[in-house]
Amino acid sequence: MTTAAGAEPARRAASVGAGSELRRAMGLRTTVSTSTGLAFAALEYLAAAGLVTYVAGDSAWIAIGVAGLLALLAWGFFGELNGMFPTAAAIRLYMQRAMDDRMALSITFTYMTTIILVIAADAFIVGTALAHALGEPGWVAAVWIAALLAVAVASNLRGVQVAGGLQDVATYTVLAATCVVGIAALVRSHQPLHFPLEPLHGHGVGSFVEAVALGVFLFSAFEWVTTNAEEVRRPHHVHRGMLIAIGILFLVCSLATMAMSHVLDHHQLGSAYPQLDLGRAAFGHVGLWAMAAVTAVTALNTFNGGFITASRFVYGTARQGSLPPLLARLNTRAVPWVPVVALGALSLVVALVVSVTHSWQVLVAVGAALEAMIYAVAAFCTLRLRSREPDRHRPFRVRAVKLLGAAGVAVFGALAIVASVTVGDRTNFVPLVVIVIAGALSALYVVKVVPGLQAAEAARRAATPRRRPPRPPAPGP
């Protein structure tokens, strides 16, 4: 090895251009499991059961298929944007280049609330499922919720991260178990499918559209894997992994939804643990326990991915000067402890509110609307950057982007509106109110507080003398 003191010109970084591979890089298998695992949260079972209320149950797969096609559209946009900005900070980069930075920051903060909602929802569902499986009274679920979130926060503060191999095992086990239970429940019901090709049987077109809106939510968060773009072995693994994940999600969600519609009654479909009843229908008490375990394992991915993604984003934004410096404090394990604790506390509050009010369907609706909104934003950014930065390298390009981009903005925008005013099968404006409040608070913060933070940071820098010594003047001619 040649040190700086004894540098050899001959060794002048001849290998700079050679792509040295990272020692620990994510392969395609882990990219797929990350993408699928982030989407397949515990909330997935409740959303799948909820979807059955909109379409003739056996044909729910058609609504999920249409939603899958829309997810493919979103995949195209995220694939192109990720190729242009292969970094965990991509969402900030492409949004600030495509629109006004204040607007971009407001949307990003609003979108970040989805992570809180998903973590809260998973804590609520796992806590409720465990309390139900153990035959405990309802209030015990709140204790489980607090315990789960406390463990998640403590693990994050200690810098514990689920290793790629363990994540693969966890995700593929959850998917395989759901498929086995779904197939077994269908077979053991000894009844043929009723309306496998008639989604509108007994329902209107409007209900089908609502089913598709909810179906999009089944795929949502598959794109969060783009935040791992810096650790993949090959850059194309990200968009290829997302594509495979969409296919897997379609199969597993369709199977679970059809099985639920086939063997569960209306009351069970509306409960907070339809997957446990599905497990019981397939394998009796063993099935119920198996699905309780599977539900708990889904939280592993959600808590791992959600906490890391959100806390690191908040840390980066605070370091950039758009959030208070307090949020950039690190503990001795280099973990931004304030965002982690705040995320855990906020998730706990939301989960307990949901637990008391039994309003988990509102969470589903808010999550679905926010995801559809961010897909519309991704479509807009893809379209806008084609004209603003036409020469930027794009390893992956959406074809017919003018047509598909405009279609993406319109369709996902419409789905966001539909999802934000529907809870269960009824019109309900609570999700819209939640989103408007979150959006307004974000915008208010960006307009009123961020300029002050940035000015303070600029003043601090101006007052700090440069440590780097000035260059000696170049010798004259």
Binding site: M1, A4, T332, R467
Partner: protein
Amino acid sequence: MADRQEIAEAYSQWRATSNANQRLRKMVRGWDRVIHFRTTDTQEGFTMSVHDQLLSELVFGLEGQPDVIVTGTSEDFCDMFWGDLNPSEKYMSGEITLAGSQQDVMRIDAISMVAFLDR
């Protein structure tokens, strides 16, 4: 553009500051890593490593298999090593790019931030 001498001088100062910082040493306990720096303007490569809570000397050229690859301009690296530049800001604006796990990326930012906190 910063030349090799400037980068070596800046790194040497960064290294001394970091290795003398007890909090930082605690922060990199058990975090033995190889880091490659690549400059986009001068097309050079440098290697540093962290071993037993200490930053190594800077090596010209890309040595070993990296855990993290940091890419930026020679000026940005020089400013970062002197503690005049906030790498997070450059990262969030896309001017510095990284390859590696999020945890490893955080540690590098932690080194650059904590090393100069008390100065």
